[in-house]
Amino acid sequence: MGTTAENIYQLRPVSIVRSLPQIKEHRLFQLKLEDGGTWDAFGHQPGQFVEVSIFGVGEAPISISSPPTRSEHLELCVRRAGSVTNALFDLEKGAAIHIRGPYGRGFPLDVLRGKKLLLVAGGLGLAPLRSLLLYVLDRRSEFDEIILMYGTNNPENVLFKYELLSFYDRDDIRYLYSVDRDEEGIWKQYVGVVTGLFDRTALSPQETYAVLCGPPIMYRFVLERLLKLGFPKEHIYMSLERMMKCGVGKCGHCAIGDKYCCTDGPVFPYREIELIKEAI
């Protein structure tokens, strides 16, 4: 067969540096390469993902939450949902696992550079979007106005709480947070679905690029809202999620029409998928 370097399924050893609890059933894993490589050389783009492999359990695609501008660790924000993530949660600090990647098409940095950005995240959708958010904050001068809209179902499920709070100290990002429900009455901001946030801030659709990441239901309503506000379709990008096995466009699981979420996505320009019925 070919040399190992040619094998698209070949894995790289990593270790878990920290496993930081986030909200219930969500953790932020910080990884270190154990084959002598650096994350700088790994060279991921915001919005890309890795295949995480735990032998005996399998592989799962996980989006990268950290930006390439912070290359000490690779960070994965993971919900305990399937067999691989369950096994991952049971591992101790220092445990050895494997990854492959980085894979897929990330957020279109070249398109976004110099533009006003509207980032809309729902729930765990903030995990991949965080790689872009921190990237643009780290290179703040390269981007125009930044607006972050983030909605979760209730106040207990706000991810990256301390980072979101830290924006309070800066005046170069506008942020609007929402929760669907607030039964305890503790939420100081907007209560309602994330689209409600569009009524609470002024947007300039012709100059703004919208980047979405959230559950499928969110896309339909946010898209409707963006188009109604006059966002050109060319200004809308979205990160999609699909069941994946190989991550490199061969196994067929993540097909969306004639596209593969793993190689053509996970970030798609809305224009590319608007006519594919099963996409959104």
């Binding site: 070919g2 094998n7 061969k250 004639d258």
Partner: protein
């Protein structure tokens, strides 16, 4: 152009065994046809359309991709060169199309190394092998225009042998192969081709249904009707020569050791697209059947080799084996009727 006396065929096949693992159609004791390691006693030329396509030669039904020892993944080594004798043109085209997909962009080295080491010897069809053959619709037969190493035409006592590559020229350089210059025989080939193509009717509904799918002209009701009939056996995908979707799982032998294995999978299964959260973008059998047929007749990821349809090569096996008659032919005809 070469010729080979039919009586010399077996000795030629046996001779090729020096360089290749020769796979050929065999008739087993029970009467069924398999394509397997050459067994001269069981070799047959009366093989029609074998039940299974040859895709498993390149993408085995189950294949170890890594041996895992003490947590380290070691790639499984390549096996030697293989010669596939007697493959039908539709199946050979499926191999070529699948190879274009498996090696595009990011190369699947398991597939690529087997493909590079595969000699393809086509047996041209002199007519349909059964009533579901529609290669003339898919432009994949009854013989191949390119992509083969050798192509045999059965002219009775003699095979006319067409060379399609350098490897083919080497394979046919033995003394049993005679040079053909006789214009009488060349005329016979033209005659063979014409008669063969004419004997396999074009199924116009296949192309009509492709246009309708392209225009989103097939409604949900249509897929619901077939979805309620499908028994979710996955057989259509497993017999399909161009279905290459696979699943990956681990076989554990001990702590940190075992094998990573990939196996055929099918988009007809609910778990194929179900995410860990439980969300399933193709949540009904109707949507899954729609996907399968759109991948065959609307969305292609393969590269065309000879102005053929891509995705479906017209072998008809899905129509042969679906227990509830949801083959490509039945679906295409029903799509056109639903207009």
């Amino acid at each position: 152009m070469k010729g080979l006396a039919k009586k010399d065929l077996l000795s030629v096949l046996e001779g090729w065994r020096g360089l290749y693992s020769v796979l050929a159609p065999l008739r087993r004791e029970q009467g069924d046809i398999v394509v397997d390691r050459l067994d001269s006693d069981r070799f047959t030329l009366e093989f029609g359309k074998p039940s299974l396509s040859p895709k498993g030669i390149l993408l085995p039904q189950s294949e170890v991709t890594f041996n895992v020892e003490e947590g380290a993944y070691r790639e499984t080594p390549a096996k030697g060169a293989t010669l596939l004798f007697g493959v039908r043109s539709c199946d050979a085209m499926a191999i070529l199309q699948s190879a274009s997909f498996m090696t595009r962009d990011k190369e699947d080295i398991y597939y690529r190394s087997r493909f590079e080491d595969l000699a393809i010897v086509v047996m041209a069809c002199e007519g349909p092998q059964n009533e579901t053959c529609f290669c003339t619709t898919a432009s994949t037969g009854p013989w191949l225009r390119r992509g083969f190493d050798l192509q045999f035409y059965d002219l009775g006592d003699l095979f006319f042998v067409e060379t399609g590559s350098e490897r083919g020229a080497e394979l046919s350089s033995g003394e049993q192969f005679i040079d053909i210059t006789d214009s009488e025989i060349l005329r016979k080939i033209e005659d063979f081709r014409e008669k063969a193509a004419a004997a396999i009717p074009v199924v116009h509904e296949v192309k009509q249904s492709m246009t309708m799918l392209q225009d989103d002209g097939v409604g949900d009701d249509f897929w619901n009707r077939f979805g309620s009939k499908c028994i979710v056996c996955g057989g259509c995908a497993f017999v399909c020569p161009t279905c290459t979707c696979f699943n990956v799982y681990d076989q554990v032998r001990g702590e940190g050791s075992g094998q990573r294995i990939r196996t055929w999978d099918a988009c007809l299964f609910g778990g194929f697209t179900r995410e860990a959260s439980g969300h399933n973008p193709r949540g009904s059998q109707a949507l899954r059947l729609k996907r399968r047929h759109e991948h065959k007749l609307r969305y292609f990821n393969e590269t065309d080799i000879q102005e053929a349809l891509c995705g479906c090569v017209g072998c008809g096996r899905c129509s042969d084996y679906c227990p509830v008659h949801i083959g490509t032919l039945e679906v295409a005809r029903a799509i056109v009727q639903s207009k």
